[in-house]
Amino acid sequence: MDLTFTDEQVMLRDSLGKYLERNYDFETRRAVVAASGGHDPKIWADLAEMGLMALTLPEDRGGLGGSVVDLVAVAEVMGAKLLAEPWLPALPGALALAHGGAGEGGAAALAAFAEGGAPIAFAHEEGRALAEPARVAMTATRKGGELILSGAKRYVVAAEIATHLVVSARVSGAPGARAGIVVALVARDAPGVTLDAYDTVDGRRGANIRFEAVRVPAADVLADEDAGCDLLNAALAPTVLALCADAVGAMGALVKITARYAADRKQFGVPIGSFQALRHRIADMAMAHQKARSTLIVTTAMAEAGACAPRDLRLLKAQVGRMGREVGESAVQVHGGVGMTDELSVGHYFKRLLAMDAIYGAGRLHFRAIGAAA
């Protein structure tokens, strides 16, 4: 049993970490978020240069053929550095394109993305978040060789800067049925696609998207109703691992920042970190982080070994969400008033963790599914 990163992975983490330290301090991030919703073409290009867009795409699709361990290795660093670039939101769309039956348009979009071009936005979420792909409800109908999409998707991050959207929809069956789900590639400016874009609490740009009789040619259907659910799972499983890695990175940063603050900040003539109540709270933060991180690492190793069931992913996602909120709440409390302001990074890490908990299904649904069946 080996649960360590390889030397190559460690090097990649180090070089990404150093790059972000040099080029992406908190004030830079603040400026990028304020100016352009978290996306700076220069930083995006640099990340692509490091191979991060191509990292886990298959080699025959212009990728580097990296593993989920590679993905987790870099995503943890991005979370720790609070990267607002839509690398993670672009991941499932790219993976769906890479593993689905993409035609020429799709292949071109993917190749462009891999080289640092526009992200492929993933238009999948509905309602208050889908706890599993089988819950997709937005409808699609077949007409001739085409697919007609009608309905709405919520919280599509980076849709504004994407050239394409990967969209999940249902041609048959009721929400909950694995069969009947299709996945399609849609140009972001295709007729009938309307974006309602907004800032998100965690410094990104999201959009609710309406599809009104949007026509998708057969070549752009990435998976039909027999394969749609599997394709979504294939795209989402690495994404959830990366998302959890990002969150674990953020938690680790919060533990460090908070412990440092407790050592430096004085009240009553002594560091606040000398008060047992705060010491214990910080100890709890450290435990929550370690617990989440070990769950991440072992689950990642299982995924790498092909032994990670949907239940294992649910458990990871739900635990990281729960621990993340705990750690974020404690970080603010230990910081006191200053932790409540927009000035410090603490609140921004916290909101990133909250956003990650909300997406891809509320923790309560995942926990219940775990509790319902061993």
């Binding site: 208050r128 978040a129 309602d196 609490v201 999201g206 409390q333 302001t341 000035e343 909300a358 309560r364």
Partner: protein, 401 residues
């Protein structure tokens, strides 16, 4: 034990309802719905205070000679229930639960005459200058100096976490007038007649929720007459402690908590649960909601128990307990709010949250309010003496020396 019930109380309820029917305007209800803090939107909260003051109901608990309503506890409950039912915004506590009661207790006759009418009517709004950058939990270490200059003091220094200072036209604050002896000595309590005094600057602080609620206030030789002192020079700490009694657990947390709980219930009854139903029908949600409601009610009952003359009325730990229990209950409530909102809580909708905004919420009002309220409410366990400080105070009383 005895609870007042029956016809007289119902007659009073009818009177309240008639008054509310005649006076509540849509912007007040909108302000109530868009309250993402313990502090309601300023303009509407003050307008509503003015309307109530005109009726003699702005500060029902004050002594009647100063404008109180002379209500029984049950009447106060009825009034709170009816306001809660309409979703009216809470009044801001600064005037009515802080500086007003303090001046009634400790102000000079001149101060009472000069300030109480504006405090009650809402013509004035008072902000509170206590915390400083290095004096938060350790408030007594404050260093904002007031130097004697004839009949005046000259104030130089800085305050922080001054809620709504950018809306205020008056301020009460603690300053250091002596550096001798224990740090609690040498503090003086002052009143500022204006926020536009020469040398005074207000800078807004943006919070986690994206709103400016707190401010920094800078003083550069700001001149204040000594007649504006409450209590003796260097005795401001005991004045502040007197005031803290009102601040911590002084008012009933029940109505605000119940109003948010009702909103949570209604939202859960509309919100899809991701499994084809609505969240309100999920037994797991019901169990946790039931636990939360039980806590809301227990906190409310603890207040009532004290008000009804029971043991908590004589318990020196009561204010700290109420502060701790009510802040943590509101935090638990806010956590369930973002749970119900789910993804819909993630868009940042600062514009739509303004009272009178042209744009509506992306999904609905509850979803729009949930995240800012959750984030803002993190402060409840920090301000007015952090909950760590409160637990220290409680332990000091409970554990024999």
């Amino acid at each position: 034990m005895n609870l007042e019930m029956g016809e007289a109380l119902e007659a009073f309820r009818a009177e309240v309802i008639a008054f509310l029917d005649a006076n509540v305007t849509p912007d007040l209800v909108e302000a109530g719905a868009k309250t993402t803090s313990v502090f309601a939107p300023f303009e509407q909260a003050m307008r509503w205070q003015g309307i109530l003051a005109a009726r003699g109901w702005a500060a029902p608990n004050w002594p009647v000679e100063h404008g109180g309503a002379g209500w029984s506890a049950e009447q106060a409950d009825v009034f709170a229930q009816e306001c809660e039912r309409r979703g009216l915004p809470p009044l801001l506590p600064h005037n009515l639960k802080m500086i007003g009661p303090l001046l009634i207790d400790l102000g000079t006759p001149e101060q009472k005459a000069k300030y109480l009418p504006g405090i009650l009517s809402g013509e004035d709004f008072w902000c509170q200058g206590y915390s400083e950058p290095n004096s938060g939990s350790d408030l007594a270490s404050l260093r904002c100096m007031a130097v004697s200059d004839g009949d005046d003091y000259l104030i130089t220094g800085q305050k922080i976490w001054t809620t709504y200072a950018h809306h205020a036209n008056r301020m009460f604050l603690l300053v250091r007038t002596s550096t001798e002896g224990k740090k609690q000595q040498g503090i003086t309590f002052l009143l500022l007649d204006s926020m536009d005094l020469p040398g005074l600057t207000v800078k807004k602080t943006i919070g986690l929720d994206g709103f400016p609620e707190q401010c920094e206030v800078f003083f550069d030789a700001v001149r204040v007459p000594k007649a504006n002192r409450v209590g003796a020079e260097n005795d401001g700490w005991s004045v502040a402690k007197h005031l803290l009694k009102y601040e911590r657990g002084g008012g009933s947390p029940g109505p605000a908590l119940r109003r948010r709980l009702a909103a949570l219930r209604e939202a859960a009854a509309r919100a899809d649960d991701g499994m084809g139903g609505v969240i309100a029908d999920d037994p797991a949600f019901q169990e946790r909601l039931g636990m939360l409601e039980a806590d809301v009610i227990s906190v409310d009952y603890h207040f009532r128990h004290a008000r009804g003359g029971g043991e908590p009325a004589h318990d020196p730990a009561y204010p700290s307990m109420m502060k701790t229990l009510s802040s943590e209950t509101s935090q638990a409530l806010s956590a369930m709010m973002i749970e119900v909102a789910g993804l819909e809580g993630l868009p940042r909708q600062l514009d739509a949250l303004a009272v009178g905004a042209n744009s509506g919420p992306l999904s609905d009002g509850f979803d729009m309010v949930a995240m800012p309220y959750y984030l803002n409410t993190r402060a409840a366990s920090i301000y007015a003496g952090s909950n760590e400080i409160q637990r220290d105070l409680i332990a000091r009383i409970v554990i024999p020396a």
